[in-house]
C-alpha cells in the first residue's frame, strides 16, 4: 500500500487500486498521520487540526469514528479479532504503521539526501527528476491552517526547492544549462527569494550564451529583494555577478545554508550520575536533562513535561525550581486551575509574585520602562514594586497589547540580568490570556528557562493550551519530556521510603501491578497501607485510596459515554479481559467494541494485551470504574460475566460475586465444578477450599430437598478429596460422612445421591462397620436397582471380611448381574466408575478362590477410563490379583503403573501400596532391593499399615524369597503375635507358610477356602 501526500491525499493498494478515503475530515486525519509515518499524533492535536477553534462537544468520539472508517477502508479484510496493523492506537493518539518508503514524501526526502551525498551525476539527475515527479500538487491540502500544518507544508516545499536546486547543480555540472533555465524560472515564480536559484538561473543563461539576460536576471533579483525585503543580494550572488562581468564561465556560486544550531553535547551528561536527594525516586534521565538545562544559563529553553495524572510532573518541576533557586536563579511558579472558566492570569500573578519575592530590585529595574505592569496581574505587587502605575489607556485592545508586550519585555530584561526560571504546572487548565503570555515568553530568543507541565490525556480539545501546544512543540529550543511509570526497582525504593520499613517483594509486585509505577498512586496506596500497618500483598491488593479514585474519575469523564458504559462492564471482567466475553456481555460486536474502546486506548486508560484481549493500564483504574457502579449493579454484571465465560473456575469466581442477585445453589454448583477443574489440575488445596466455600454458601439458602441433594454432592466430593489428600479413613473424611448421614436418610432416593450413598457405605466398610454400611444403603436406596447394587456390594465386602469367600463372590456377582444396561454415572472429583468398585474386588475374590480366568475377565470388563484415579485403582487391584497368581512380572508391571499414577495424582496411600507390591514382585524375582522398597512403603504408612496385614505378609514373603528365611520367619511371627482380625485373617495361611509351619498353613487355607494360598503352601 502506498500513501501520497505530495498533492491531494491518495492511497493505492498493492495492485494499484485507489482506496476510497471518505470525507474531508477523514482524509485530514490520515494526512496528518501519513505526514509522520511511525510517529504517534496525539488525539488533542488531531482534534485541533480537524476543528481548529471550535471542536464539537463529542470531538473525541467523532475522531474515533473517522479512525474506525479509515481502518475499514485501509484493511477491508480485517476481522473483528484482528487489531489494526496499519492505523494503530497508541497513547496518546494514533500512528500510521507503514514503512517510510510507503509514503511518497519519505521517498522524496530519501532521494534528495542521496543526491546531496552522491554529488552531481547523470544518476543524480535521473533520481531527482523521478522524485520531483512524485509531486502532484500542493502537499497536504486536506489540513487546515494550523501552525503545525503550515510547518509541515513549508518543510516539504523547502525540500522540493532543495531538490530542484540539487538537480540544477547536477545539470550545470553535466553541462546541460538549458534545462536549468526552464526549471529555475518556474521555481522563482513560487519562491522569489531563493538566491541560489537566481544564481543557477544566471549561470544557466550565461552558459547558453545569454550573458546579457544573465546580468539582467541579477537586476531582477536585486530589485525584488530590495523592494520586498529591503535587503541586498547576498555575497555569493554578488560574487557571481562580478564574475559574469569579468569572465566567460564562472563556477556555480556557493550559497551556504545557515547552520542549524548545534546540539552537540546536549546528551552528553544524560544519566551521568546526577544525585536526586531532593525527594524524587528514579528519573535519572529526566533529572540529568534538568541539570543540563540549568547548566546553560546563557540559553533560553522551553521544557514540556507531560504525562498522566500523578506520574510525577509536579514533583519534577518542583525539583527543577528548587535546584534553580539553589543556584541563585530568580524563580516564579504558577499553576493552571480547573475552573469554568479558569481564573484569568492567576498563574502569572503567582509567577510574578514569586519573582518579586526572589529579586524585588531586579524586577523593579526590569519593568522600569513599562511601569508597574506586574501589579495589573497581581495587585499585591502595587505596594511591593516601587514603580509608577502604568498609564491608563482608553482603547482596551491597545491596553491589552501593551500589557502582553510589556510583561514579555520586562521578564526578558530580567533574564538578561540574571538566570530566570518560570514554572507553569497544570498547563492543560490554563486560561486563554495566560496561554498567550506563556507562548510569547517561551519564544526562542529569551534567556529564560520556561518549564511547563501538562496532562496530555486530559487536554480538552478546546483548551487554550491545546491550541498552542503544536506551536510550542515545534520550536527549536523546546525539550519534550514525557514521563512514564517507575520501574520495579524504583517502586521498591519509593515503597521503602514511604513505609519507613522494608516492604516484602510480593507487595512490591502487587504495587507495580496495581499502580503501573505511577508515583501518586503509589504514595497514596502506601500511605493507606502504612497507616494500617498492613504492608502485606493482600492489603496492597484491596485498598483504593479516595484521592486516586478522584483522579481516575476525572480521566474517565473525558471519554465518550459509550466508552464509559463499556469500560464499566469490562471492569467486572478483571484487569485483563477478553473482548469476546465483553461482546457476550454487552451484545455489541467485537469490531464496534474495539472502535468504542479506542478512545480509552489512546487516552492510556487501556493498553493492548494478547490478541483478543485488552488490559486496564492500572488496576486502580479498573477498580475505580468497578466500585463506582454500586454493589447490586456489580453483582448483576458478575452474573452476566459468568454466563459469558466458559471455564468453570471463571464462572465460579463471578458467581461468587453475584451472590446478592443469584441463587446460592447456583453459586455452590459453580464452585463444585471449579473444584473439579482444580482437582484435575492437581490443585488439591484450591479444590478443597472451593468445596468448603460452596458448603458455606449453601447455608444462605433455605432448607429444601434440592439443597440437601446438593449438600450431599458437595460433602461426598469433599470426602473423596480428603481421602485422596489425607487418607481413606482420616478424621476430615469421617467428619464429612458423619454430616452426610442425616441427609442420606431424609432425602428421597434418586440416582443423584448414588455417589454419596456409595461413598458412605464404602467408608463404613473400610472402617469395619459393615452393618452400618449395609443398613444405610438398604434404607436410603429403597427399591432402586442401583441402591440394591450398593447394598449387595457392601454386603459382599462384609462377607469377605467374615472369611466367607464364596458368599462374597455370590453377592458381588449378583451386583454385577443387576447393573443396568446403561453406564452408571461417574462419581464426582475422582471421576470414579462404580462398576470398577464392584468388579475389581470381585476379581480379587475370584483370584483368592483360584479362579484366575474369572479374575482376569472381571478386570477386563471394567470400562477403561482416562481419569488417573480409576486407572490407579484398577491397576492396584490387578497387581494384587497378580500377586495372588504368583506372577511377579505382571505384578511388577501393574505396580509400576499404579505407582506412577499415585505419584502424579498426589495419593500417598496408594503410592505406599504400590511400592510394597512392586517390592514384593522385585524380591520374588530375586532382587534383594525389593525388601527395602517394601520397608519404605510400610514406613510411609505408619500405623495405618496395620489396617492391611497383607502388606506385612508381603514383607515377610519378600524376605523369604531373597533368602532371609530367619528374618522372614521373625517378621511373620511378629504379625501373628500382634493378632489378626476380620479380613486380616486371610493372611494366616501365608504367615504360617513363611514361618515354616506348612501343615498349619495348609489347614488354615483349606478351612477358609483360600485356594490361592493353599497352592502357595502345597506348591511352594
Amino acid at each position: 500500500m502506498e500513501f501520497g501526500i505530495l498533492g491531494p491525499l491518495e492511497v493505492v493498494t498493492g495492485d494499484g487500486a485507489p482506496v476510497d478515503l471518505g470525507t474531508p475530515k477523514q482524509r485530514a486525519v490520515l494526512a496528518m498521520l501519513a505526514a509522520q509515518p511511525g510517529r504517534t499524533v496525539s488525539v488533542q492535536r488531531l482534534v485541533e487540526e480537524l476543528w481548529a477553534d471550535e471542536p464539537p462537544e463529542r470531538a473525541t468520539a467523532s475522531l474515533q469514528a473517522y479512525v474506525s472508517r479509515l481502518r475499514r477502508a485501509l484493511e477491508p479484510g480485517r476481522t473483528s479479532r484482528d487489531r489494526s496493523a496499519v492505523l494503530v492506537s497508541r497513547a496518546p493518539g494514533y500512528f500510521l504503521s507503514v514503512p517510510n518508503e510507503a509514503v511518497d514524501a519519505a521517498r522524496f526526502a530519501a532521494a534528495v539526501a542521496a543526491a546531496r551525498s552522491d554529488g552531481p551525476s547523470e544518476a543524480t539527475v535521473r533520481s531527482l527528476t523521478a522524485a520531483l515527479q512524485l509531486w502532484r500538487g500542493d502537499p497536504l491540502p486536506e489540513l487546515g491552517d494550523s501552525p503545525l500544518a503550515r510547518a509541515e507544508r513549508s518543510r516539504l516545499q523547502e525540500l522540493r526547492f532543495s531538490a530542484i536546486e540539487e538537480r540544477s547543480a547536477a545539470l550545470l555540472a553535466l553541462d546541460r544549462p538549458a534545462e536549468v533555465v526552464f526549471a529555475s524560472e518556474s521555481v522563482l515564480a513560487e519562491a522569489p527569494y531563493r538566491e541560489r536559484v537566481w544564481g543557477q538561473l544566471m549561470l544557466g543563461l550565461h552558459r547558453t550564451g545569454r550573458r546579457a539576460e544573465a546580468l539582467a536576471t541579477y537586476g531582477r533579483a536585486r530589485t525584488r529583494l530590495l523592494e520586498e525585503l529591503g535587503i541586498e543580494p547576498g555575497p555569493a550572488l554578488q560574487d557571481l555577478v562580478e564574475a559574469l562581468h569579468r569572465g566567460p564561465s564562472p563556477a556555480e556560486p556557493r550559497v551556504s545554508a545557515i547552520s542549524e544550531m548545534s546540539d552537540e553535547g546536549s546528551r552528553e551528561d544524560a544519566g551521568g550520575g546526577v544525585s536526586h536527594e531532593a525527594g524524587l525516586v528514579g528519573r535519572e534521565r529526566e533529572l540529568a536533562t534538568v541539570e543540563r538545562l540549568l547548566g546553560e544559563p546563557a540559553r533560553g529553553a522551553l521544557l514540556l513535561v507531560s504525562g498522566s495524572p500523578g506520574i510525577g510532573k509536579s514533583a519534577l518541576l518542583d525539583h527543577l525550581a528548587e535546584r534553580a533557586a539553589g543556584q541563585g536563579a530568580a524563580v516564579g511558579a504558577g499553576t493552571g486551575v480547573d475552573g469554568v472558566p479558569p481564573p484569568v492570569f492567576l498563574p502569572w500573578a503567582q509567577i510574578l509574585r514569586g519573582l518579586a519575592g526572589n529579586d524585588r530590585q531586579g524586577l523593579t529595574e526590569a519593568f522600569a520602562p513599562h511601569g508597574n505592569l506586574p501589579a495589573v496581574l497581581d495587585p499585591t505587587l502595587a505596594e511591593r514594586l516601587p514603580l509608577p502605575a502604568p498609564e491608563r489607556l482608553a482603547d482596551a485592545e491597545l491596553a491589552r497589547s501593551r500589557l502582553y508586550r510589556g510583561l514579555v519585555d520586562g521578564l526578558r530584561r530580567l533574564a538578561e540580568r540574571r538566570r530566570v526560571v518560570i514554572v507553569v504546572d497544570d498547563a492543560h487548565w490554563l486560561d486563554a490570556p495566560s496561554t498567550v503570555l506563556l507562548t510569547m515568553i517561551a519564544e526562542p530568543g529569551s534567556r529564560a528557562l520556561v518549564a511547563v507541565g501538562y496532562r496530555e490525556a486530559e487536554l480538552a480539545a478546546g483548551a487554550p493550551f491545546a491550541k498552542t501546544l503544536g506551536e510550542l512543540v515545534a520550536q527549536p529550543h523546546t525539550v519534550q519530556m514525557p514521563l512514564e511509570g517507575l520501574n520495579r526497582t524504583e517502586v521498591a525504593a519509593l515503597a521503602r521510603r514511604i513505609a519507613e520499613d522494608s516492604v516484602p517483594d510480593e507487595t512490591v509486585d502487587v504495587l507495580v501491578d496495581r499502580t503501573g509505577g505511577n508515583p501518586f498512586f503509589l504514595v497514596e496506596l502506601l500511605q493507606v497501607l502504612a497507616a494500617e500497618h498492613a504492608l502485606d500483598p493482600e492489603a496492597a491488593r484491596d485498598r483504593v485510596p479516595v484521592r486516586v479514585q478522584e483522579v481516575v474519575r476525572r480521566r474517565l469523564a473525558r471519554l465518550p459515554e459509550q466508552a464509559n458504559a463499556v469500560l464499566a462492564v469490562a471492569s467486572v471482567l478483571g484487569r485483563d479481559f477478553d473482548v469476546t466475553a465483553l461482546r457476550e456481555m454487552t451484545g455489541i460486536d467485537e469490531l464496534d467494541l474495539y472502535d468504542t474502546l479506542d478512545t480509552a486506548l489512546v487516552s492510556g486508560i487501556l493498553t493492548e494485551g494478547d490478541p483478543g484481549r485488552l488490559r486496564f493500564s492500572h488496576d486502580l483504574v479498573r477498580e475505580t470504574a468497578y466500585l463506582d457502579q454500586g454493589p447490586l449493579r456489580r453483582a448483576r454484571l458478575h452474573a452476566r460475566a459468568a454466563k459469558a465465560l466458559a471455564g468453570p473456575t471463571e464462572q465460579a469466581a463471578h458467581l461468587r460475586l453475584a451472590l446478592p442477585v443469584v441463587s446460592p445453589l447456583d453459586v455452590a454448583r459453580a464452585m463444585a465444578a471449579a473444584a473439579g477443574e482444580a482437582y484435575d489440575r492437581t490443585a488439591h488445596d484450591t479444590a478443597r477450599a472451593l468445596l468448603h466455600e460452596a458448603v458455606d454458601t449453601l447455608g444462605r439458602a433455605p432448607v429444601t430437598e434440592e439443597r440437601d441433594v446438593l449438600e450431599l454432592d458437595l460433602r461426598v466430593r469433599l470426602a473423596y478429596l480428603h481421602q485422596t489428600i489425607d487418607g481413606y479413613l482420616e478424621p476430615p473424611v469421617a467428619e464429612q460422612f458423619a454430616r452426610m448421614a442425616p441427609l442420606l436418610l431424609r432425602t428421597r432416593p434418586t440416582v443423584a445421591i448414588l455417589p454419596a450413598l456409595w461413598g458412605y457405605a464404602s467408608f463404613h466398610t473400610a472402617s469395619g462397620n459393615h452393618d452400618r454400611a449395609v443398613e444405610v444403603a438398604r434404607s436410603a436406596g429403597g427399591a432402586e436397582p442401583w441402591a440394591r447394587i450398593v447394598a449387595d456390594v457392601h454386603e459382599g465386602h462384609a462377607a469377605w471380611t467374615a472369611l466367607d469367600l464364596p458368599g462374597a463372590r455370590r453377592l458381588f456377582e449378583r451386583a454385577v448381574e443387576a447393573l443396568p444396561a446403561e453406564d452408571l454415572p461417574l462419581f464426582p472429583i475422582v471421576h470414579w466408575d462404580p462398576v470398577a468398585g464392584i468388579r475389581a474386588p470381585l476379581a480379587l475374590v475370584c483370584a483368592m478362590l483360584g479362579d484366575h480366568d474369572a479374575a482376569r475377565a472381571h478386570l477386563r470388563a471394567i470400562r477403561p477410563r482416562p481419569e488417573p484415579f480409576q486407572r490407579m485403582y484398577v491397576s492396584h487391584y490387578a497387581a494384587i490379583v497378580a500377586v495372588e497368581r504368583a506372577d511377579p512380572a505382571e505384578a511388577a508391571a501393574l505396580s509400576r503403573q499404579s505407582l506412577a499414577l499415585a505419584e502424579r495424582g498426589g495419593n500417598p496411600e496408594y503410592r505406599a501400596f504400590s511400592q510394597i507390591h512392586l517390592g514384593w514382585a522385585e524380591a520374588a524375582a530375586g532382587a534383594p532391593d525389593g525388601v527395602a522398597r517394601i520397608e519404605a512403603g510400610l514406613a510411609a504408612l505408619g500405623d495405618n499399615a496395620w489396617r492391611r496385614p497383607r502388606l506385612f505378609m508381603l514383607h515377610a514373603d519378600a524376605l523369604l524369597a531373597t533368602g532371609a528365611a530367619a528374618r522372614a520367619a521373625s517378621a511373620a511371627s511378629q504379625v501373628l503375635e500382634r493378632g489378626l482380625t476380620g479380613e486380616g485373617r486371610y493372611m494366616l495361611p501365608d504367615l504360617h507358610r513363611i514361618r515354616g509351619d506348612v501343615r498349619e498353613a495348609e489347614r488354615l487355607a483349606r478351612e477358609i477356602g483360600y485356594v490361592a494360598a493353599l497352592r502357595r503352601v502345597t506348591e511352594g
Binding site: G22, T23, R58, A61, S62, Q64, A65, Y66, S68, R69, R72, R553, R554, L556, A557, P560, E561, Q562, N564, A565, V566, A568, V569, M585, T586, G587, I588, D589, D592, D595, T596, A625, D628, Q629, G630, R633, R636, L637, R640
Partner: protein, 134 residues
Amino acid sequence: MLFTVNALMLIRRVPAGRDAVTRRVLAEWKNSPLDEPALEWWELVDPAGEDDQPPGALAAVHPDGDTVRLVFFATPPGRRDRAVQLLIALVDALRATSARTLVATPPASGRDIADILHEAGFRPLANGLEAVDL
C-alpha cells in the same frame, strides 16, 4: 461531568434474540409495531440488566447508501431525556459505519420531536428534513 452510574447505558443494535422484547415494549409504550422492511433497530440498554429487560429507548433506522434515515424512536412514557441520550448515542454509533448523514422527517405537528432532534444535534434542511452529519 464526572463518571456516574447514569451514564452507563449503552447503545447497540437490537440482538436477534430480543425481537420479542422489542415488540412487547412497543406495545407497552403505546407505539404501533412497524412493518417497514429492512429496518435496523437500535436500543439503549443497561448492560447489567437481564436478557429480557426492556430497553431504555428504541430507534429504528433505514440505511440507504451514504444516508441513514431515522424512521422511528421511542422512550418509556415520561422519559423524554432518554430520547436525546438515545439519539446522541445513535449518532456516535453510526459514525463508526460508512454512513455520512442521518436524516429525519419530523411530523408537522410534532414540535417536541423537532426540539429533541435539535437537542441531539440535528439541523433543519431546506426541504423540511432534519439532518446531522456523521
